[in-house]
């Protein structure tokens, strides 16, 4: 622990690191209770059907079983969902995917729970399934949600700018391709879990691994018909989230269980297989692209149709697709665009939020298209990107005027100057026997914040204790990304206090204030902005009290120093402990609500998006992958990797590098390995032996550097960087393989089998 106040722009060690490294930090999953009950769910096991009967008699009579609940036992609406309330807590009439819950069991121990779940007889009359994008587009397909006016299209939307698709006719060259990406799983270390209890006053307390504790309270309230103030949600540090815990997983089920547990703690903890079968996923997608340019490489027109498989329930599917569509043209100036999207219900697992949030899918398409176009025009892939890179004052491919920090050009310049790029020919020529080497670029971006229509706001709460310490009450969960670290650093810097004087409270709906979800690369930006202002208020309040105690009549004559206030002119000081003791309780707290700015005059397009379009602020990145492919086996090895990121000013280089490296590791998994396979609605890759995530041996050393800028609206000039880097690896590696002489691959992941076939096929466009 440092003994000087933290500095912005310098490495600042995570305050939570020692406790986590020592194994004493309690995640939700580490919470048990005396006399604990275990809760678990019987899942449908069939992807689509009508429930005829759920017979729980045998399960109920098993000794140790406390209760078995079915759809009819759910009070309230029995519907959850962030935007559309279409997902039952327990299915009452129909099941729409194999992971749908049909019964909830409370039992005295896990073995009894397992046996009771197996004893429940579920009789479901099967309905024909909708398992593919083409199935869902078929008008004769069975409808998953009979009341949904769009049929199996959860959302159909269009973004148009300039003259739209018509302008393709004005292009000297048009390239046309189709890309397909699979489902990705979050595969966090801590699977979905929580613990809940009904208190004596009737309130339900839930300690849960969640990215959105305040929204959880609202979800539980709505689904179970409980008053909002009758629910308390506590969100300890998460063992990973990546979007998969943004939305109700165990929350409503646990609260329902707690209502039948007579005041005992109830624990629900999905095992790995259940997490794969029932947890939220990244959308599989198919992307049809037509990209047109002038002969000199100037981008002129884009027409694309994107299809996202959203699975059985809406979750954030429409919003995920909206963000994908907003990014469909890449970080480029394309005057004429038409971007059409279909977000489709299927009987597959529910797709929702995941790091990159719809953007990873389109990044594969647009960055592959840029290389295909460059090859067609015999242009250097870096130069065609520099030529078209967005600058302040341009409109992006969604027609939004770029008014804030727009650093893609600086990222591209940094790549151009880097030895890995300049010496690439030498590196490629040094490939060993039976190996081929290639170098690939990807220029990517990712919006920050919720976008128009959904206020992106946070309420910071800061306390000075009667002994002169400070407490930051964080309303946004920390799933490992490091926002808690940033809050301590920001408060320490803004208040000029040592880290050891600052405590941080993790989100708790009783103690902290609503600050939105840990999502959308927004947490440090939005909460940090609120926190800085709360610190400014606190500083004025402390100096104000000091002015009385020291008889100094101008605040600017006083200095707030670590642990004390000083009057430099006379050398007199008052310790904060002494000062704080004179404050009354209301004076000891500062609360500030910050609201993120939005696009002031959104373009007249994307009208189907009720929320989340368009965005004002983006972070940027340019990635360079040095890839070696084996001609005998198709194995692909990323030998070196450089990522240049523009995310405003870097507050903490250490955690920023970690975020970029983590995103790239996950992105390399998406590029080379990860493929959640579903056959007839049943997940085939339901454990970590079949669902392949990269190990340390599969990853290169990742060089993460920053093209620093200053975002005028950001806390100390920063923008979020939790997601942007995840978008680069798949297109960069795909481009590198094409550079190595393989036929271009349009379907990911880039498995040895696909790469071998494409190496044998040889170079294409």
């Amino acid at each position: 622990m440092t003994t000087r106040p933290p500095k912005i722009g310098r490495d600042f060690l995570r305050p939570d690191a020692p406790a986590k490294a020592a194994g004493v930090e309690k995640y939700a999953v580490d919470h048990y209770g005396e006399n604990l009950l275990w809760a678990g769910v019987r899942r449908a096991g069939v992807p689509h059907g009508l429930i005829r009967r759920v017979d729980a008699a045998a399960a109920r009579s098993l000794p140790g079983v406390r209760a078995v609940l079915t759809g009819g036992d759910v009070p309230g609406t029995n519907r959850q969902g962030i935007v559309h309330k279409d997902q039952p807590v327990l299915c009452d009439a129909k099941v729409r995917y194999a992971g749908d819950p049909v019964a909830l069991v409370l039992a005295a121990d896990r073995e009894t729970l397992r046996r009771a779940l197996a004893l429940i007889e579920v009789d479901i009359a099967p309905l024909p399934g909708v398992f593919t994008i083409d199935d869902a587009l078929n008008h004769d397909a069975p409808r998953l949600h009979e009341d949904h006016p769009g049929g199996n299209a959860l959302l159909q939307a269009t973004i148009e700018a300039g003259d739209g698709a018509k302008a393709l006719a004005e292009c000297d060259v048009v390239v046309t391709e189709t890309f397909t990406v699979p489902i990705q799983a979050h595969a966090f270390l801590e699977t979905e879990n929580g613990i809940a209890r009904r208190e004596e006053d009737g309130r339900i307390v839930i300690i849960v691994s969640t990215q959105a504790p305040f929204r959880d309270r609202w979800e539980v309230s709505h689904a179970l018909g409980l008053p909002m103030d009758g629910i308390r949600v506590i969100a300890p540090y998460l063992g990973g989230g990546f979007g998969g815990k943004d939305g109700a997983t165990v929350q409503c089920l646990l609260a329902l269980a707690a209502m039948h547990a007579d005041g005992r703690w109830v624990k629900m903890w999905w095992d790995r297989e259940e997490s794969f079968q029932a947890g939220y996923k990244r959308h599989a997608a198919r992307l049809h692209y037509h990209l047109g340019a002038k002969a000199d490489g100037t981008l002129h027109a884009l027409h694309c149709r994107v299809y996202y498989d959203t699975g059985a329930y809406a979750h954030l599917g429409g919003e995920v697709m909206a963000l994908g569509m907003e990014h469909a043209g890449g970080p480029y100036r394309i005057p004429h665009t038409r971007i059409e999207g279909w977000c489709l219900y299927t009987n597959n697992p529910v797709a929702g939020a995941m790091r990159g949030f719809g953007v990873m899918q389109v990044s594969f398409a647009f960055e592959s298209m840029m290389d295909i176009l460059a090859a067609r025009l015999r242009l250097d892939p870096l130069e065609i990107r520099r030529k078209n890179a967005l600058r302040v004052g341009d409109r992006n491919s969604a027609g939004v005027l770029m008014t804030s920090s727009t650093g893609i050009g600086a990222c591209l310049d940094a790549i151009a100057d880097h030895p890995l790029w300049k010496d690439r020919a030498v590196w490629k020529a040094a490939a060993g026997p039976n190996k081929r080497r290639g170098v690939g670029l990807a220029a990517v971006f990712n919006a920050m914040g919720y976008g128009r229509g959904l206020p992106d706001t946070a309420v910071a709460k800061l306390e000075i204790t009667p002994t002169g310490r400070f407490v930051v009450y964080s309303g946004v969960a920390d799933m490992g990304q490091g926002n808690a670290t940033a809050f301590v650093q920001i408060a320490g810097a803004a208040l000029n206090q040592e880290e050891g004087m600052i405590d941080l409270v993790q989100p708790d709906t009783d103690r902290t204030l609503p600050s939105g979800s840990a999502a959308a690369s927004r947490t440090t930006y939005t909460y940090g902005n609120a926190l800085i202002r709360a610190c400014q208020d606190m500083r004025r309040r402390i100096l104000g009290r000091a002015s009385m105690l020291l008889l100094v009549d101008r605040l600017e004559d006083l200095g707030l120093l670590p642990g004390r206030v000083r009057h430099p002119a006379t050398g007199r000081e008052i310790p904060l402990a002494m000062l704080a003791a004179t404050l009354t309780t209301p004076e000891r707290f500062c609360v500030y609500q910050y609201l993120m700015p939005v696009v002031p005059d959104p373009p007249a397009t994307g009208k189907a998006f009720k929320i989340g379009f368009p965005h004002l602020l983006f972070s940027y990145g340019c990635h360079l992958a040095l890839v070696e492919a084996d001609e005998l086996t198709g194995e692909t090895t990323v030998r070196d990797y450089l990522a240049v990121t523009e995310a405003g000013r870097i507050l903490n280089p250490q955690t920023s590098v970690q975020q970029v490296q983590g995103a790239i590791a996950q992105g390399i998994g998406y590029a080379l390995h990860e493929d959640l396979q579903v056959e007839g609605g049943i997940v085939q890759t339901d454990d970590l032996g079949k669902y392949i995530i990269p190990t340390a041996l599969d990853l290169p050393d990742i060089r993460a550097v920053f093209a620093q800028a200053y975002e005028e609206t950001g806390p100390f000039g920063m923008k979020g960087l939790g997601e942007v880097a995840s978008n680069g690896p798949l297109p960069a590696i795909a481009n590198a393989l094409a550079d190595a002489g393989a036929a271009r691959i349009f379907r990911s992941p880039l498995t040895p089998e696909r790469v071998l076939a494409s190496l044998q096929q040889g170079p294409g466009m």
């Binding site: 005998l632 086996t633 041996l697 599969d698 089998e753």
Partner: protein, 278 residues
């Protein structure tokens, strides 16, 4: 509750096996415990062989090396006799699972699981390994390729255990190669593997060659025609390509979640090219 026996000598073992005829006998458990968790194996009782001194360690016995069936992969990897005499097995063991799995899993377990993807099996095939089996009624020896009967199937008889595996030191071999393709670089189930043991003359002629492949058939697959084609030939790209055709004819892979049969067949042949020097 399930009974778990940890016999410390052979008498305790035979007694436990007699008392619990339905028990699963194991050493390591890295396959068995996973299968039990998944519910694909039901074991009313477990008998663990790891405490039996008779099944532990590595011995040099004249021209042979004896490997105790309950010796862990990690112990084999750090054993100087294995390092000196069986570099092919060392290469394979390095690709097996991960450090925790290698600390727990045993070579006897890998053999008795009899998976076509078992990483130690192709090396043991080309080393012409023999298994030693024991029961209260006596001992017998069997070539490994006769012991393994099919995927997950062995000729282990009721009441019998595997105590060790014996290989001749490959004193003449001057090229030991194990190649494995998985879905990632560690913790990967094999998609195709190849073990090769060669004697190459200073002039570059193949004097003798033994080859075996994993994950391309119901058991480890061999290709005598490829071996014959290469024996007496120069180690050239062309000759290896020619032999690879025989390999692709000899193997019998299937499609599964990891790869297609066609890919496995193709790569089984291609891996021969890895034998080209430099």
């Amino acid at each position: 509750m399930r009974k778990v026996f940890l016999p410390r000598d052979m008498a305790e073992l035979w007694s436990a096996m007699a008392d619990e005829p339905a028990a699963r006998v194991y050493a390591g458990g890295t396959d068995l415990l996973v299968a039990m968790r998944a519910g694909t194996v039901v074991a009313p009782a477990l008998i663990c062989l790891e405490r039996l001194a008779e099944l532990q360690g590595v011995r040099e016995e004249g021209e042979e090396i004896w490997l105790g069936a309950a010796t862990t992969h990690a112990a084999l990897l750090s054993n100087p006799l294995v390092g000196r005499h069986l570099p092919l097995l060392v290469q394979a063991l390095r690709t097996l699972g991960s450090p925790p799995i290698r600390n727990m899993g045993t070579i006897g377990g890998n053999i008795c699981t009899a998976s076509p993807a078992g990483d130690t099996l192709p090396p043991l095939y080309v080393l012409a390994a023999e298994v030693e089996l024991q029961s209260p009624g006596g001992r017998r020896r069997l070539p490994l390729r006769d012991f393994i009967a099919g995927p997950g199937q062995t000729r282990l008889e009721t009441g019998e255990i595997l105590t060790g595996v014996r290989v001749r030191k490959p004193v003449d071999a001057n090229c030991h190669r194990f190649e494995k393709i998985g879905q990632r670089q560690a913790l990967a189930c094999c998609i195709v593997s190849m073990a090769a043991l060669l004697t190459v003359t200073p002039a570059g002629v193949v004097a003798s060659i033994r080859l075996a492949w994993g994950s391309v058939g119901p058991t480890v697959m061999e290709a005598p025609a490829a071996e014959a084609a290469l024996t007496g030939s120069f180690m050239t790209r062309e000759n290896l390509h020619r032999a690879a055709v025989f390999v692709r004819q000899a193997v019998a892979p299937i499609d599964d979640i990891r790869a297609s049969a066609a890919y496995r067949r193709e790569v089984a042949g291609n891996l021969l090219l890895r034998l080209l020097p430099g």
